[in-house]
């Protein structure tokens, strides 16, 4: 019966970010469990449903990310470790913190999303594996735990590659691996009773210096180009075709 650890990130919902005059505007933004990590949680819970064992969720983020705890536990993990840190964390720092938490736990498999929905660096999984000295299967869209092995399938440019690694191992998953469930009333009620452990850097034997970013941000700008945003109904199709011809985009 595998003990599975699943890591997730609480991120700003990019759908709420506006771009105004080339700047990103973050007022009125909501937050969410990163989309890819929802697939990771779902996969961990499915493995438990099929094989038994436990699912432990781990996250690191500012105290405002406490709002994620209920959401995460409703999705099925048995318990949760929350590492509070207010500053900016890069992938190196995040994976270092996660490795310290995971080292306190019994586990056979660690699952993460392929990347986070905000910065999408796609590094925390393989960095975590390297820090723990574990094999790593990245970008898989199918995971099978078989005895003391994990088998992962991924789509590469040239074809599908099926890899196998001994447990314990780290796996990162793509969004097509599953469709995360919507928690029902029972799951919502159960989540309230699940244990949550709070940690901070000191408890993990880390200092501010250990987690300082490896880069300096010089600028952060909005990218979207201004679009005309003219919306018609289908009666205007011939007028639209005239415009496409006039704009010389069709011929």
């Amino acid at each position: 019966m595998p003990d599975v650890v699943v890591c997730y990130k609480w991120v700003v919902d990019e759908r709420d970010i506006r771009v105004e005059k080339g700047e990103l505007v973050f007022d009125r933004v909501g937050y969410k469990i990163s989309d890819y990590d929802r697939n990771a949680i779902e996969e961990a819970v499915r493995i438990k449903e099929a094989l038994g064992g436990t699912v432990t969720a781990v996250t690191v983020g500012p105290s405002s990310a406490q709002a994620s705890v209920k959401d995460a536990l409703q999705r099925g993990p048995d318990s949760l470790y929350f590492v509070a840190y207010e500053g900016e964390l890069d992938s190196e720092a995040t994976s270092l913190i996660l490795s310290r938490v995971v080292n306190k736990l019994n586990f056979d498999l660690i699952i993460l999303g392929e990347g986070s929905a905000d910065v999408y660096a796609q590094q925390v999984g393989p960095r975590l594996a390297q820090k723990l000295g574990l094999p790593c299967l990245t970008y898989v869209n199918k995971v099978t735990v078989a005895g003391d092995k994990v088998i992962g399938e991924r789509k590469l440019e040239g074809g599908i590659e099926v890899k196998e690694a001994p447990l314990p191992a780290v796996v990162t998953v793509t969004p097509d691996i599953n469709v995360p469930r919507i928690p029902g009333l029972k799951a919502v009620l159960e989540a309230k009773k699940k244990p949550v452990q709070q940690l901070d850097l000191a408890a993990l034997g880390l200092t501010e210096e250990d987690v300082a970013p490896r880069y300096e941000t010089l600028s952060l700008k909005g990218t979207s180009t201004d679009r005309k945003q003219i919306v018609w109904d289908r009666k205007e199709l011939s007028r639209l075709v005239d415009i496409l011809i006039k704009e010389k985009v069709i011929a």
Partner: protein
């Protein structure tokens, strides 16, 4: 000896890395060093500007490419490179992250631009699903980045001199390839297409793709799609999905059919000259990201549009 290192398992991509590598090596006054799998590649990479080429040790077919992360690590700890650029394939990104972790250095994923400012490597990359572009200066060494295909032109081959050094030792990993299967794929270059028709979840059945195909035929357009249609439904090969983690295109006209307009999808078409959206939901975010929008049932609108275009273009 330090240097600017570049590596990709894909030859075309490695040639692209060599072209930006040449720029960096001259700006930083460092040797340009690359890696290869065969003597032929080594010679080509020298012609493309590599001053030193390491011939990687051979591996068995069942050993994953990522095994070379250990090779790079050992060499990096000895040679202390200033910059290490890796081609942003899935395997390249895993190798880069593992190397960066061991060296406790920063890594910029999927960079859209690399430069040197005040003697420091500077990387630009997209964040927030493609809404933002973040520019960072590397504070740790080696300064590492992964770079997707077609970010830079290929280095031109010329008569140049360089050294080839053979690496022999391969550290065994614990992962093993147990099977490989071919998958439906096609040689396709959407980046050159002038008109692209993209389809999304609004299409209810696979056979309904014919509506979009008919439209493509009239326009001489390429068919593309959003990520779920390629990955979850498997209706179209992955070479045809547009988005942050898929193809990035720059057509004159992009027609989005039944696409909601997720930020990540739109990141792939932000360089389109004109975007036309057809969607049933008038509140779909695609209408804020399009130049022209038609609110309506795509099953009615698309055939009408095809007909209108046929009449107008005399096709």
């Amino acid at each position: 000896m330090p240097g600017v290192w570049v590596f990709s398992e894909k030859k075309e991509l490695n040639l692209e890395l060599l072209s930006i590598g040449q720029k960096l090596s001259s700006d930083l006054n460092q040797e340009l060093i690359t890696f290869c799998f065969s003597q032929q590649e080594a010679e080509d990479y020298i012609k493309a500007g590599g001053q030193k080429v390491f011939l990687l040790p051979e591996k068995e077919d069942e050993v994953p490419l990522e095994v070379y992360a250990e090779t790079f690590l050992e060499l990096a700890e000895k040679e202390k490179p200033e910059v290490f650029l890796i081609g942003a394939t899935l395997r390249g990104k895993q190798i880069a992250a593992q190397v960066a972790s061991k060296l406790k250095t920063g890594l910029s994923t999927d960079c859209i631009a690399v430069s040197v400012e005040n003697g420091t490597p500077v990387f630009e990359r997209l964040v927030y699903g493609g809404l933002g572009v973040q520019k960072v200066a590397a504070k740790s060494r080696p300064a590492m980045a992964t770079i997707p295909e077609k970010t830079y032109p290929r280095a031109e081959l010329g008569e140049r001199q360089g050294v080839i050094e053979k690496l022999t030792q391969l550290v065994a990993g614990r992962e093993k390839i147990v099977a490989t299967k071919p998958r439906r794929s096609e040689a396709l270059d959407l980046s050159e297409a002038k008109i692209i028709v993209g389809v999304g979840r609004g299409i209810e059945r696979e056979e309904d793709l014919s509506l979009a195909r008919d439209l493509c035929k009239v326009l001489g357009a390429e068919l593309a799609c959003s990520r779920p249609l390629a990955e979850e439904m498997n209706w179209l090969p992955e070479e045809r999905y547009i988005g942050l983690s898929g193809q990035k295109v720059k057509p004159d006209l992009y027609i989005a059919i039944g696409i909601s307009g997720q930020v990540q999808h739109m990141a792939g078409v932000r360089d389109a000259k004109l975007i036309l959206a057809i969607n049933r939901d008038e509140n779909a975010p695609i209408f804020k990201a399009a130049d022209y929008g038609i609110v309506g049932d795509l099953y009615e609108v698309v055939p009408s549009l095809t007909k209108e275009l046929q009449n107008a273009l005399g096709g």
